[in-house]
């Protein structure tokens, strides 16, 4: 019998950080683009009238709605990956502790209470 957790928890924190970073960049880009589009659309619509302009309004609203949904989805995954990263850290610590205890037991068996 060896130590109870001989292998590290499988989780690449570097890759997880890179994914979170890319997701946050995209969320920021979506937010800024949505704002920029709204501002430019409002300016353009001061002179643009008629049915095509009204259809454009619908599209701008659709873009905002879709962007909000995308941002929500990406944020959820940021949370999921971050939580997973935390969970992996916590789990690794628990494994490390258990392994350490196991090693301590082998080094100082006399310290163990009788009957255990």
């Amino acid at each position: 019998m060896g130590e109870p957790y001989p292998h590290p928890v499988r989780f690449d924190h570097g890759k997880a950080d890179a994914a979170v970073h890319a997701l946050n960049d995209t969320i920021a880009l979506l937010r800024s683009q949505t704002n920029d589009r709204r501002t430019s659309a409002t300016r353009m619509r001061r002179h643009w009238t008629g049915g095509h302009a009204e259809r454009f309004d619908c599209e701008v609203r659709r873009m905002e709605t879709d962007a909000a949904a995308l941002i929500g989805s990406l944020q959820a995954w940021v949370r999921t990956i971050t939580s997973a990263s935390d969970a992996a850290t916590t789990l690794q610590r628990a494994h490390d502790r258990a392994n350490r205890d196991w090693r301590d037991d082998r080094i100082h068996p006399v310290d163990r209470p009788p009957g255990l």
């Binding site: 994914a19 995209t26 430019s40 353009m44 009238t49 008629g50 095509h52 997973a84």
Partner: protein, 642 residues
């Protein structure tokens, strides 16, 4: 959409389009980076109890950007339309100096004019493009991650979309971002699917549909098949085999646009065969891998008649293993190149069959002319079914002369030269077509192909009013079978063939076969109406003792149908011609109807009796005619009457 006035500053709308498309591109790049990072995380294999597979989140971002791009492009089109409508009555010399003020000034136009210029609703299309782009990104990501199962799932779900969706899908797949992706990704994915016919079929068929979409970018057809660079690192032959196999996998199943197939043929077949210094000239003939890729291209052509006609009628060149240079149409070059390679020959025959069904008569004439100039004995037997089909499908085209620069048919003498009926020692090219269609390379008659060709001819005759063309075609089609031991061999023996052709003419036209009709039909099968008349006149004068007056009357019969008309009258009972015909053929209503139709159309000039009683009263002298014309025919030489 109302019919009132609407306004905008055109330049603001076009500027929006340019600016917003930049945003879309930024977002697409961000989406790709997300997928890259997510793929890296998934590939690192996180403990499943901690984190399951993260989906391709970037694909949705890309789909969103592509959908927005359709709207942004549309805004630019609306701005352009405002400008065009606003300035349509402005003189060009004024506009030249004032265009900026029109772009940046307020334009007021009729809404109906605007709707006429930017009528289509772009939003549904944008939604579809966005969905296609997101799917493409998922496939790219799955392929990049080596997730074969997910690649298969996505690819097998490609069916059921329209051509435009497919085009948007492949164009997204081909769009390189940060040096990642590009047209080679399309062929790489196709190659990865090639062991699995079901997946490759779904992928190729989607690509084929995409290439036929009006929104397909033709430059992508060019970029999908890159010209081979023999100067790169490594063994060029091996590299060519590798790259061409990879690209040929894209052509296994779909039906592609002509421009893509022309490009594929140029890169994968024409270039290596055409270049005398190429690594793939003489040795290519014996390289089954290379030939296999040629087959794939030809098989793709066989599913696209218009492309097959363009490619196979195009000018080609190669050097054979005997170091002979062969030039001509690609059909001719390939027939010569392939020799007797069974699979290749069949693929080539299928491509020729398809080309024969193109709508372009000029190309088909060029194609058939090229094939007809190949020595019929070296044409591989497995290509002959395709050739026979192309000949059969184009009997009507072959019955006409080659069009001149103005699109007019050549003179009948030219047609006769094409057919080889003017006494040349060699067969004419059209004759060779029939010979290679009906015989194998060793002269064995292929009764299946011969029967098929005859059935086509009969069907064509039924719908074709031009009797001289009928005679001419039958004259060419008749290959005289000769039994040699257990084998039936065929030979083109002109007098006999022409005589049988003439008989076929008579039969086809619904006439009672007799030596006179055979004679005139035989003359027709030489391709010259005048000869038919002269031959018949002389034969009749000799055998019947007719005088000059009668000959003059008969001279009016040189139009082919009239000639047969009289011919039939000789076999009749001497009564008025139409009645005679009806009586003679009373047992066959179809023949009666045919004769009546001819009589109605080909009757003598108005006010004259149909034909003289002398013309119609030869029945008692018919046996003499029968005996005489056979001799006359056997000894006849058309040049004597020229």
């Amino acid at each position: 959409m109302g019919s009132g006035k609407v306004g905008a500053i055109p330049g603001e709308l076009t500027s929006w389009a340019g600016w917003a498309r930049g945003l879309d591109d930024d977002l697409r790049r961000a989406g790709r980076r997300v997928d890259e990072a997510v793929a890296g995380l998934n590939e690192s294999g996180p403990d499943a109890g901690i984190l399951g597979r993260v989906p391709d989140l970037g694909a949705d971002v890309i789909g969103y950007a592509v959908r927005n791009g359709a709207t942004d492009t549309w805004v630019g089109q609306v701005g352009e339309a405002f400008y065009r409508i606003e300035t349509r009555d402005v003189p060009p010399q004024v506009l030249r100096g004032e265009s900026e003020s029109f772009w940046h000034g307020a334009a007021t136009v009729s809404e109906s004019d605007l709707a006429a210029r930017v009528g289509a609703d772009p939003f549904a299309e944008g939604r579809e493009d966005g969905d296609a782009a997101a799917t493409a990104e998922r496939l790219r990501s799955a392929y990049r991650s080596g997730d074969d199962e997910r690649v298969r799932q996505i690819v097998e779900g490609l069916g059921g979309h329209g051509r435009d969706w497919d085009a948007a899908f492949f164009e997204e797949l081909a769009s390189p971002f940060d040096g990642y992706g590009g047209p080679e990704l399309i062929s790489d994915i196709g190659w990865s699917l090639s062991p699995d016919d079901r997946s490759l079929r779904a992928y190729d068929e989607a690509l084929g549909r995409a290439t036929q979409s009006p929104s397909w970018d033709p430059s992508l057809s060019q970029r999908l098949f890159e010209s081979f660079d023999p100067t790169g690192e490594g063994d060029p032959q091996a590299r060519f085999n590798e790259s061409s196999r990879r690209e040929a996998a894209l052509l296994r199943f779909g039906t592609y646009s002509p421009d893509l197939l022309e490009r594929a043929f140029a890169v994968l077949v024409a270039t290596p065969l055409r270049d005398p210094d190429s690594l793939l000239t003489a040795q290519a003939a014996g390289d089954s891998e290379v030939v296999g890729q040629f087959d794939t291209v030809l098989e793709a052509l066989s599913r696209s008649p218009e492309a097959a006609a363009v490619v196979l009628a195009g000018s080609g060149e190669t050097t054979t293993s005997d170091a002979d240079t062969v030039r001509g149409t690609w059909a001719r070059v390939l027939l010569t190149f392939y020799g007797k390679d069974v699979r290749s020959a069949r693929a080539l025959g299928d491509a020729i069959r398809a080309a024969g069904r193109s709508d372009d008569d000029a190309l088909k004439h060029e194609l058939l002319h090229g094939i007809g100039n190949v020595d019929w004995k070296i044409v591989p037997d497995d290509a002959r079914a395709g050739i026979a089909d192309a000949v059969a499908s184009n009997v009507d085209l072959l019955s006409r002369g080659a069009p001149d620069a103005q699109g007019n048919e050549a003179e009948i003498r030219g047609r006769a030269i094409d057919a080889g009926f003017l006494g040349e020692k060699e067969l004419g090219w059209k004759q060779r077509l029939f010979v290679m269609a009906e015989l194998d390379h060793d002269g064995t008659v292929d009764s299946g192909r011969q029967g098929e060709l005859t059935r086509y001819l009969q069907a064509w005759v039924g719908a074709h009013p031009d009797a001289k063309a009928v005679g001419w075609m039958f004259g060419m089609a008749v290959v005289v079978p000769q039994v040699e031991g257990d084998q039936v061999r065929g030979e083109y023996h002109m007098p006999t063939g022409a005589l049988l052709g003439g008989q076929a003419v008579g039969t086809a036209l619904g006439f009672v076969p007799n030596p006179v009709s055979m004679l005139s039909g035989a003359a027709l099968s030489w391709g010259d109406t005048a000869w038919a008349g002269v031959l018949s006149d002389r034969a009749l004068r000799k055998q019947l003792g007719t005088d000059e007056t009668e000959l003059k009357d008969l001279a009016q019969t040189k139009e082919v149908v009239k000639l047969h008309y009289v011919t039939l009258a000789y076999a009749g009972d001497g009564a008025a011609l139409p009645a005679t015909m009806r009586d003679a053929a009373a047992d066959d209503p179809a023949v009666v109807a045919r004769i009546q139709a001819l009589a109605d159309r080909e009757g003598p000039p108005s006010g004259q009796p149909p034909y003289t009683s002398r013309e119609l009263a030869f029945q008692d002298r018919l046996p003499a005619v029968e005996n005489g014309v056979n001799d006359q025919f056997e000894n006849a030489n058309p040049r004597d009457y020229n």
